[in-house]
Point group: C2
Chain length 131, copies 2
DNA sequence: TAAATTCCTACCAGTTTAGTAGGAATACTA
DNA sequence: TAGTATTCCTACTAAACTGGTAGGAATTTA
């Protein structure tokens, strides 16, 4: 997603390119794409001269968006989202902690956008001051 | 650890008791104890009339202490602590995010002590106001 | 000496993670 | 219209991790 952000506005980018720049296999990247498409974060163009582009401007995609899609959740324990997985949920003290922890993780990740990463890459802003 | 905190000051507590109260097996709890002992968070008394007690007052044990011991780490990616696992670490933009994320997780968990959980259990304090 | 309990080491089964593989579908280009 | 480039889909796999179980030795009290 960072590579797509760097390429934003320049038409579709090949997985092959991304794979080279990030030192990953195309086969692996192919695996990550479907959920990103479903979530409408990237847009695919098939066939020759095809490739991928961000579906929104980098400033409109937070790291929370991306990680929720690729990792599925942000909570440290499933009970945060699905109390029914444990019959202690109603009165569990620890669960409150996990809930608070998810909130801070969520807030932190929502505080960064792909544009922040691009800016940092080009040293356009003083990243440290962003947070 | 929460049960031991509730029991703090009343001598050693049996794993059997904890197992009943938390709906876990003794066999499983036995598994968790060694690292807690090594980290000097709990103290064990062997033999009949033995059991476990906290090695410090509940107010002096943070959730960060406990989770570091039981889960081994708090970072979302190993590269945060061991840059050498990936040769992109030196210039990886994403790694900075993982580092920041670990900081907020760490800070959040360090902000709770076992005493907070005990207090919440007895409704002695208004928990919401703690954070 | 018997009972209670921690302690140590080994094992196991299910899930998750990080991939690889084959080939079909699609679209551009000559 | 044929060839090539590329995404797309489904299945497979191997290693690591997680959440346990199991047997029995060591220790302490009564």
């Amino acid at each position: 997603m960072f590579q797509l952000a760097l390429n934003y506005g320049n038409g579709p980018m090949l997985l092959k390119e991304i794979a080279e720049k990030e030192d990953l296999s195309v086969r692996y990247l192919e695996h990550l794409v479907p959920p990103l498409k479903t979530a409408r974060l990237v847009y695919a163009t098939r066939g020759a001269r095809g490739g991928y582009s961000l579906a929104k401007a980098p400033i409109d995609i937070t790291l929370k968006d991306i990680i929720r899609v690729l990792e599925g959740h942000l909570y440290p324990s499933e009970c945060v989202e699905s109390p029914e997985v444990c019959n202690r949920s109603r009165f569990c003290i620890t669960r409150d902690i996990w809930t608070k922890l998810e909130e801070t993780i969520s807030t932190t990740l929502a505080g960064f956008t792909l544009q922040d990463l691009v800016d940092k890459y080009y040293n356009k802003t003083h990243y440290e001051e962003l947070q």
